[in-house]
């Protein structure tokens, strides 16, 4: 059971859970804020649309294609 920090809050998820799923398990499911200030959530689920991009351990990654790892820091409001 990996533990991740989602916007500073600790969350335990099942092995193999994507960061995109963790966003909904631990918070409101949103991944980023758009250029005009709207909150957005994963859309295509398969690495195309880039809506699910989040900061993971300081690097921009796609939440839908990244599996949760123990000790990972995920930020949706960098």
């Amino acid at each position: 059971m990996p533990d991740v920090f989602l916007d500073g809050r600790l969350l335990s998820v099942a092995e193999g859970t994507t960061v995109a799923a963790a966003l909904a398990l631990g918070a409101d499911g949103c991944s980023r804020t758009s250029v005009s200030g709207q909150r957005r959530a994963p859309l295509c689920g398969m690495g195309i649309c880039q809506e699910c991009r989040v900061m993971i351990d300081g690097r921009r990654r796609l939440a839908c294609q990244t599996l949760c790892r123990d000790g990972m820091y995920v930020d949706t409001r960098p």
């Binding site: 959530a41 859309l43 839908c64 990244t66």
Partner: protein, 418 residues
Amino acid sequence: MTEFADLLIIGAGPAGMAAALAAASSGTRIVLLDDNPNPGGQIWRDGPQAHLPVEARRMRERLRACPNVRCHANTRVIANAADKILLVENAEQGWLIAYDRLILCTGARELLLPFPGWTLPGVTGAGGLQALVKGGLPVRNERLVIAGSGPLLLASAATARHHGAQVLRIAEQASRAAVAGFAAQLPRWPGKLWQSFGLLDAHYRTDSHVLEALGRDKLEGVRLLQHGKTVELACDRLACGFGLIPNTQLGQALGCAVKNQALAVDAWQATTRRDHYAAGECTGFGGSELALVEGAIAGHAAVDDTVAAERLWPRRARWQGFARVLNKAFALDTRLKGLARGDTLVCRCEDVAYGELSSHTDWREAKLASRCGMGACQGRVCGAALEHLFGWTPPAPRPPFSPARVETLLSLDVKASG
């Protein structure tokens, strides 16, 4: 660092896996890349809420047992660095891969068309929802509406239901006659029968499509047009996709010709560029069985085993027949071109509204005036939507093909100077 492959395969879905397995017995050095954490593509996506079919598991095991196949997961192609050299990137590093021959198995993506409210959290693609659920997205006790077109709506509904969601409605834009005609032909392809069950699903409606996603900060409901009547349903999620479109971008960037919005291939799955092959959904949408046989043909052909490749032609022809029936039945109605309003965002990366685009005459003009398609997805979503809505052909993509780290792009310089 430069890695060398006799045969490089881009995409480890059914086509890419079949290609690798077909080519592996020749002993050739194969590298198989995929941007997902596991092989399997979309249809065989693994995860805490996924159930892999036996065939998928068996193929994965066989691949693992091949000493001459190296798989790189979570790896994307960033640029073509030089002739037959690609720059790739994973979570840790960027590097170059030089190859003799290449098979593109880049799959398909959902056609996502803009409609009012489609940017609200809670709205996903139809296949998108299925992929997210397999990855662990909780949907238990959520109220779902699934809309758009094609058999994927039913597959997505089945996955969501299996994980405790309440599917209120499946809205298929195609007519009842078209869907019934499709279902009537299914016995010609045993194993595909499950797709006809939609007609027996109490929540399935033909001649129905989404009008608007409702809500302020997140999705609260959906307005549908059902057999000409407006219906509103309160729901927690809307999964909406209008069928699949081939991912041709990388093939185009490598100089492979496109025909009918798919990578053009001959009987050997060879593209118009020498030593470059393509298989699966990037050559046209047709389902996993067609992808598997195309992948195997490409794999055999890429190691010059033309006898083994040719032996598979009849099976390919059979599944191409299925693809034709499928694509005809779920052809999109023109009224779907009128869903967006002036203030509906079309480009979700740069937040460009329909009203800012509709007065332009082509993609280039619209892009220069509005920044449409210049964001992180590089027009993969809005470019396909505008091609459908206005007939604008998106330009061939330029590297970097997806957002990349500066350290990775520096590998290009090292190559150039070294």
